[in-house]
């Protein structure tokens, strides 16, 4: 809408007739690979479970009941709030949030550093950031495991240098999972922030300084508002995949506690074989992500209007 010039035929007018046809492939892809699977999942979450996987085509709220209400191991106690799955979800959200914060703290200065180099060096630095990601995620996570295990090079080095006198015991801890998530998704934070900072006009900083703004004030009132879209995009790109991550929790965390991803996997691949419950958990996860994105979208439009 905003692209239309007031009065007279704008160039967008000319393309308008073609727009629906040009968008057709996109709609087919979104329809077939996004809407249909989500609709299927939503449907399954309201069906009756078949023993050992599969569904019976009868409406049921059992999956959601199981998620939110605790009726005791034998199912004959008065219903209370079920904390099991809320705990699992909270653990995943907390870990994803922490990983996002870590990535932000390291990613922002990194992106700033790269964007302020001369043009030729920027390409080199960006290459250095992205090269490790040409290797498969699984391989990188396993390598991380080799690095931090008790008999691994990290501990060997620290022991040799005399900084510690026994191994750190990092493997199979939440800290190891954090390291894994942070390392896996850092470039997703660096690249969007870099793109935002690169467009930043440094004359604005000079102007702020001329007007007696300190460094902190310049950052808060001048730089941040300009690079904010990059920061938010980076946070979403790190938070959302971290939420469903299962490689790092499994390989580095020892799979001792369910994460959202492994809980859902267990319903389809494990002994439980409870497809409606797996679908319901996935729907609840998706709703959480949708709410986060909607809140973001609304704050954006409000800002645009202001």
């Amino acid at each position: 809408m905003a692209a239309m010039a007031p009065g007279g035929a704008s160039s967008s007018e000319i393309y308008k007739g073609n727009a629906s046809r040009l968008l057709l492939p996109t709609w087919v892809v979104i329809g077939v690979f996004l809407l249909v699977p989500v609709a299927l999942m939503a449907t399954y979450s309201f069906l009756t479970k078949e023993f050992r996987g599969g569904v019976i085509w009868e409406f049921s709220l059992a999956a959601y009941d199981q998620f939110f209400l605790d009726r005791g191991l034998f199912g004959d106690e008065p219903p209370r709030i079920e904390w099991t799955f809320i705990t699992i979800f909270w653990r995943s959200i907390w870990q994803a949030g922490l990983a996002t914060l870590l990535c932000l703290l390291i990613g922002f200065p990194t992106a700033w550093f790269i964007a302020t180099r001369e043009a030729r060096m920027r390409t080199v630095w960006l290459l250095i950031v992205t090269v490790p990601y040409w290797v498969n995620l699984l391989i990188r996570t396993v390598s991380m495991k080799f690095l931090i295990r008790d008999e691994g090079p990290l501990n060997a080095m620290l022991l040799w240098s005399g900084l510690i006198d026994q191994p750190l015991g990092l493997i199979n801890t939440n800290l190891a999972v954090q390291l894994g998530l942070f390392y896996s998704y850092l470039p997703f934070m660096v690249l969007p922030i870099y793109a935002a900072v690169e467009r930043y006009d440094f004359a604005l900083s000079e102007a702020a300084a001329d007007l007696y703004a300190g460094r902190w004030t310049t950052l808060r009132l001048v730089i941040l508002p300009v690079v904010k879209p990059g920061l938010i995009a980076g946070c979403i790109l790190v938070f959302v995949p971290s939420l469903g991550a299962f490689l790092a929790p499994d390989l580095l965390g020892g799979a001792k506690s369910f994460m959202i991803g492994s809980l859902i996997e267990e319903q389809f691949k494990g002994a439980a074989g409870n497809w409606p419950f797996g679908a319901a958990a996935a729907m609840i996860l998706m709703s959480i992500v949708m709410v986060v994105l909607l809140v973001y979208a609304r704050s954006q439009t409000r800002e645009a209007k202001a």
Binding site: F74, T84, S257, G270, G273
Partner: protein
């Protein structure tokens, strides 16, 4: 020009036809089939084999239920899963005439409760599940399931357990001396309490890494399958596989003929091939379990034939994992979820 085109078209058609006739789609566990054996089969019969893999009986069932039935000819379910697949109507049957080597099956594996009279499946490998202990870390008595569920000081925080509810909860039940598929409240509460308390002493849950953690030293004791333990020992881990006084879990994986198999004849040929003592022995030499086929002894590597993992001491108690009925299974699922919450 025309003739060349016509000839190549005919050649192409013939090639496609031959390929369609000579295919086999195998759905197997990971790390469970030596490529040389598949090559040998292709050499003898002209049938090309494609193999996909899975990592648990339940994953196999889920995949078949999600619509893969009809795309595979053969699969390798464990004992209780043969029964489940059979009950779900996912297996085809064959007659003894169609698999002449059926007579090579050892007597004890012929009339098995999960496939009486061997109508849908033939033995693939059998072995046991218990645990192995690093003898450099702990040199006391390891012939008790207490090593895993009430571990000695040296092993605390250094234990890996299999990430499958079936085997881990069954071994825990054996530790308590309660039956499988129990619906007795007190027994289930005791089971729940036992694993919850033991978890504090466990380092990790993992099935496909069960061997690696023992070799690398990340774990000093771990639940493991017998052949996997033998391989870990072969890779230099100073471990001993235990046959605890409470008993070990015994299992048999079977080559099972799937319903709607696209290449039923190829499948039968492969079953027959795998029942040849020489081929069954080649598989055993690779997987390091036991064959369930007569006449393999002369083809076995001595270290495989005599491995301590495959030769339990006289009088070892053995238990098969049972498939529980639905109303009981949900209780065990709840205990497992509670354990990992």
């Amino acid at each position: 020009m025309k003739t060349i085109l016509a000839t190549s078209l005919i050649a192409l058609a013939a090639a496609t036809a031959a390929q369609a006739e000579g295919e086999l789609k195998l759905y197997n566990w990971f790390e469970y089939m030596p490529q040389e054996l598949l090559d040998k089969f292709t050499e003898e019969t002209g049938i090309t084999v494609t193999m996909d893999t899975y990592d648990s009986n339940e994953a196999l069932l889920a995949s078949l239920k999600a619509g893969r039935l009809g795309s595979y000819d053969l699969t390798v379910p464990g004992d209780y899963m043969v029964k489940i697949l059979g009950d779900e109507g996912m297996l085809d049957t064959f007659t003894p005439e169609e698999v002449p080597n059926l007579s090579n099956i050892e007597d004890q594996w012929m009339d098995v409760p999960f496939d009486e009279g061997r109508k849908s499946s033939v033995p693939y490998q059998w072995g046991s599940t218990s645990f192995a202990v690093n003898r450099e870390v702990f040199d006391g008595d390891i012939q008790t399931t207490g090593i895993i569920f009430e571990p000695p000081e040296e092993l605390k925080g250094k234990i890996n357990v299999l990430d499958t509810a079936g085997e881990t909860l069954t071994l825990a039940s054996m530790h308590l001396g309660i039956p499988q598929c129990s619906s007795d409240r007190e027994q289930l509460k005791a089971l729940n309490a036992l694993v919850m308390e033991a978890k504090a002493d466990w380092a990790s849950f993992g099935s496909d890494v069960a061997k690696d953690v023992l070799v690398s030293g990340d774990a000093s004791a771990g639940m493991i399958w017998s052949g996997f333990a033998a391989k870990a020992r072969g890779e230099g881990a100073p471990i001993e596989y235990a046959f605890p006084k409470e008993g070990v879990i015994v299992w048999m994986d079977n080559l099972a003929l799937l319903k709607d198999a696209p290449n039923r004849d190829s499948a039968l040929a492969f079953m027959n091939f795998m029942l040849e003592p020489e081929n069954a022995a080649a598989l055993t030499n690779y997987a390091q379990y036991s064959a369930g086929v007569t006449g393999v002894a002369e083809f076995l590597d001595p270290e495989v034939a005599n491995s301590p993992e495959s030769n339990p001491p006289e009088g070892t108690d053995t238990v098969f994992v049972e498939a529980c009925p639905e109303e009981v299974q949900v209780l065990y699922d709840a205990i497992w979820t509670n354990l990992k919450k």
